[in-house]
């Protein structure tokens, strides 16, 4: 490995309570193409945004050629020799191709107050030709060109001034095969000039083929840096996903007996464009896991059971013959729902913990329609304490709580309502390990009390660890059913998912 060009030292970024990048220290060599990979939300884009001056750094620093790098805007970043080609559209409509390329550098073509458009167009065209993108006319408006051509213009814009560091942030998804080839040629040219490319991509094959080294991030932390020719795509995957939790957090029993008593039956439920002809039964004291790829429709199943789906067909029937057609009916008959979209659907964030806990139970707490506010306060306090929510008092707004505590508020309100059926969509999403363990323990407790849980989750370990039975969905339909078994593994589930 050659001389170090850029180094990050203990870099951190917080967005409110989210710790997006944690203590990342990385080195980038001169003349290298360095891959940066990780799952969504692992912090790779945030890392590069700090490098380019798009986000301010929370703590830590970047050292470029031995000197601390201090950039506050993208233009300052450019002047220090750092440029970025972004994931989303990075060109501005309403301007010509040339104006887009020289955005922020117009002064070069200014004579007093007059812009020399002709010189600008001429230079832009020369650059385009040099890159081999001669089919693009520098004086035309940018919106005349396709998405792919606009990306090519961006490549020119980001690299023509011979920057020391070029960040390519998931650009390839927008490009066809030939466009990608063009991009890789440009990347190699930058490398051969002794400069560095930071290449972010989800396509692991592409990463391994075009990089010298790869760094893997997970949950904002650096997992490790490896040589591209020494690892396989599977190795990278393992590093990316990792094992978040030890199995000891999950249930340890493998008792297969489930009550015969059916508490909920779903028959032929269809939500146009989302799920198709879904039927299953939920038993008393059962934890039913529903898994699949993120877009398989499993999240909609939760909404459908709760009566929250738009234009739902088929029937959802509870024990005792009550049909669920609306949210109010579902709540009245003891169905609880915790959404994946916690802030928008599970809790009213701009309201107090007290009000949030009381809302679903208002009818039960009232005496002929009249509410006793002290009684409500005690009710909220009791249930908040039961879940040990970290708060100043029950009057605190939910918006001020961390993700884990918000989820505890959600659970507290449904426990207070004494719901018999809990539909939990991604119950541990974005929640730290401690609260995760609490939630799993609570689920086991509820099971023992004879309550039934539908747990919808994208995490396979969680499904395997907690469920009595797992339904795997694919393209809006149920594609597989598995009973609880210590021998059941991720591979079995994945096989029915894709």
């Amino acid at each position: 490995m050659g001389e170090i060009l850029l180094r990050s030292e203990n870099l951190n970024k917080h967005f409110g309570i989210t710790h997006a990048v944690k203590d990342v220290s990385l080195e980038f060599a001169k003349g290298e193409i360095h891959g940066l990979i990780g799952e969504n939300g692992s912090g790779k884009s945030t890392f590069c945004s700090m490098l380019c001056g798009i986000y301010p750094i929370s703590s830590g620093r970047f050292i470029l050629e031995g000197k601390e790098l201090k950039v506050r805007t993208q233009v300052e970043g450019n002047h220090c020799g750092i440029s970025i080609i972004v994931q989303e559209m990075g060109t501005l409509p309403g301007l010509t191709v040339a104006e887009n390329i020289f955005l922020g550098e117009e002064e070069r073509f200014m004579h007093g107050l007059i812009k020399n458009t002709r010189a600008m167009n001429k230079e832009a065209q020369a650059l385009l030709n040099e890159y081999g993108f001669g089919h693009i006319n520098a004086s035309s408006m940018i919106e005349h060109y396709s998405f792919e051509d606009r990306k090519l213009v961006e490549i020119v814009k980001a690299t023509y001034f011979n920057p020391k560091i070029v960040v390519v942030d998931e650009t390839t998804t927008a490009l066809s095969q030939s466009g990608r080839e063009e991009l890789f040629t440009v990347m190699n040219r930058i490398k051969n000039d002794g400069n560095t490319v930071i290449f972010i991509s989800h396509d692991l094959g592409e990463v391994l083929e075009n990089t010298d080294r790869v760094s893997v991030l997970r949950d904002g932390e650096l997992v490790g840096t490896v040589k591209s020719n020494a690892v396989s795509a599977d190795d990278l995957k393992r590093m990316m996903v990792g094992r978040e939790l030890n199995s000891r957090y999950y249930r340890t029993d493998y008792d297969k007996t489930i009550s015969d008593e059916v508490v909920l039956s779903v028959e032929g439920v269809t939500v146009p464009g989302q799920i198709e002809n879904i039927s299953f039964q939920l038993h008393r004291g059962e934890i039913l896991g529903i898994g699949g790829l993120s877009e398989c429709g499993m999240h909609e199943v939760g909404k459908a059971v709760f009566g929250a789906s738009f234009d739902r067909r088929g029937s959802v029937t509870l024990k005792g013959g009550h049909a669920v057609k609306s949210i109010s009916q579902a709540i009245r008959h003891g169905v609880a729902y915790a959404s994946k979209d916690r802030d928008n659907e599970s809790v009213v964030v701009a309201d107090s913990i007290r009000d949030n806990i009381c809302l679903p139970s208002l009818n039960g707490l009232s005496d002929r329609g009249i509410l006793n506010n002290q009684k409500l306060g005690r009710f909220a306090q009791t249930n908040a304490d039961l879940m040990s929510i970290k708060m100043t008092d029950i009057g605190q707004y939910v918006a001020d709580l961390s993700g884990g505590n918000k989820q505890k508020v959600v659970l507290a309100r449904w426990l207070g309502k004494d719901s018999g059926i809990l539909v939990l969509d991604s119950p541990t999403r974005g929640i730290d390990v401690k609260v995760k363990a609490d939630i799993y323990a609570l689920m086991s407790d509820l099971k023992k009390q004879g309550k039934s849980i539908i747990m919808i989750s994208e995490e396979l370990q969680e499904l395997l660890g907690m469920s009595d039975r797992i339904l795997i969905m694919k393209d809006g339909k149920i594609n597989g059913e598995f009973m609880r078994d210590p021998k059941l593994g991720e591979k079995d589930l994945i096989a029915t998912m894709v």
Binding site: V223, G224, N344, E345, A350, S352, D355, S366
Partner: protein, 328 residues
């Protein structure tokens, strides 16, 4: 590959950020409108040499309060749920005409008819807002013109007079009593039934409220109807004070309500920070301003100017920047 490490439970537990205490600022914000009211009364008492707190002026001031306070109560609920209502002035005008007509037969029947007429106009607003999903301020600006148009059409041949008997009812104790009854009933409904919880939750986050068992569409429809009904009822007091109704009766009421509520500390975006006290402090502050300005600034142009400046200062001091969102 060995670099892979996972954090221990205690390490991650320590990273959970501590909750920051915010009680003080909330307390202060809740009390600001009250201090504002005291300050405005104090300042204008000094500027007018104590004139505004003389009994004759106080009763004059009170005569403005009744209609404004009752109508504000309805709009307060509309705003809590996250909406706006600009049609109140026109509703007052039209409901007053209905009352005048029916009062010739029976006054009590007239009150009922005016309240129902107001409710019907409110329901019309609610229907368009909820059913056709049009932003409330657009719907109510349209109906403001629509109802006003009807008002003017009916009064083309001259003002509509009420029965002569109603003037006898123009007694301060009677008006105070009616207003107090309305306030007490609304306060009870807002604090001791699920209505208040529903309104605040929906105003704070409609989707989440729906997922908590509230019914936003029904609630909104009812709250507009209720707001119309209250202004319909207020038209009774309006008529006993003025005797007959012209085409411009009630003009600008909606602006007065809006200013009064904001002066009282009502968050424009509604939600959980709405307090019933906003109505009382707001309308009182507004009426003090309205009555004192002409005494201090005899020229009407200056009054407007000063009113504008005071309004801006109060809003800048009391507004909750955090909850400021796009008006629904």
């Amino acid at each position: 590959m060995e670099a892979m490490k996972t954090k221990t439970v205690s390490e991650i537990h320590d990273e959970v950020p501590a909750v920051k205490p915010k009680m003080n600022s909330t307390w202060l914000r809740n009390l600001t409108p009250f201090f504002g009211f005291i300050a405005i009364v104090a300042v204008f008492s000094i500027l007018t040499g104590g004139k505004i707190i003389r009994p004759e002026n106080l009763s004059l001031m009170l005569s403005q309060v009744y209609v404004l306070m009752i109508s504000s109560t309805g709009v307060f609920m509309v705003m809590t749920v996250g909406g706006l209502d600009f049609s109140q002035g026109s509703i007052l005008g039209l409901a007053s005409i209905v009352f005048c007509w029916v009062s010739h037969y029976n006054i009590i029947l007239g009150v009922i008819a005016a309240t129902l007429a107001g409710a019907a106009m409110g329901a019309f607003n609610g229907l368009f807002h909820v059913k056709f999903k049009i932003a409330s301020f657009i719907v109510t600006i349209c109906t403001m013109y629509f109802f006003r148009g009807l008002c003017k059409y009916i009064t083309t041949n001259g003002p509509v007079p009420a029965s002569m008997e109603v003037v006898a009812l123009n007694q301060t104790w009677f008006k105070v009593l009616l207003t107090a009854i309305v306030l007490v009933v609304c306060f009870f409904v807002f604090h001791c039934t699920r209505v208040g919880y529903d309104l605040r939750a929906i105003g704070a986050g409609e989707t989440a409220a729906r997922f908590s068992g509230c019914r936003p569409d029904l609630t909104k429809f009812l709250v507009y109807t209720m707001s119309g009904a209250l202004t319909g009822f207020a038209s009774f007091i309006n008529v006993i004070q003025v005797g007959s109704i012209t085409g411009t009766a009630g003009t600008q009421l909606e602006t007065k309500i809006l200013i009064a509520l904001v002066l009282g500390g009502m968050p424009i975006s509604g939600g959980a920070r709405a307090r019933f006290s906003n109505i009382i402090i707001g309308t009182l502050t507004y009426c003090v301003l309205e009555k004192s300005l002409p005494m201090v600034f005899p020229v009407s142009a200056t009054q407007q100017l000063v009113k504008g400046i005071i309004f801006l200062i109060v809003v800048a001091l009391t507004i909750d920047h955090k909850s400021l969102r796009v008006i629904k």
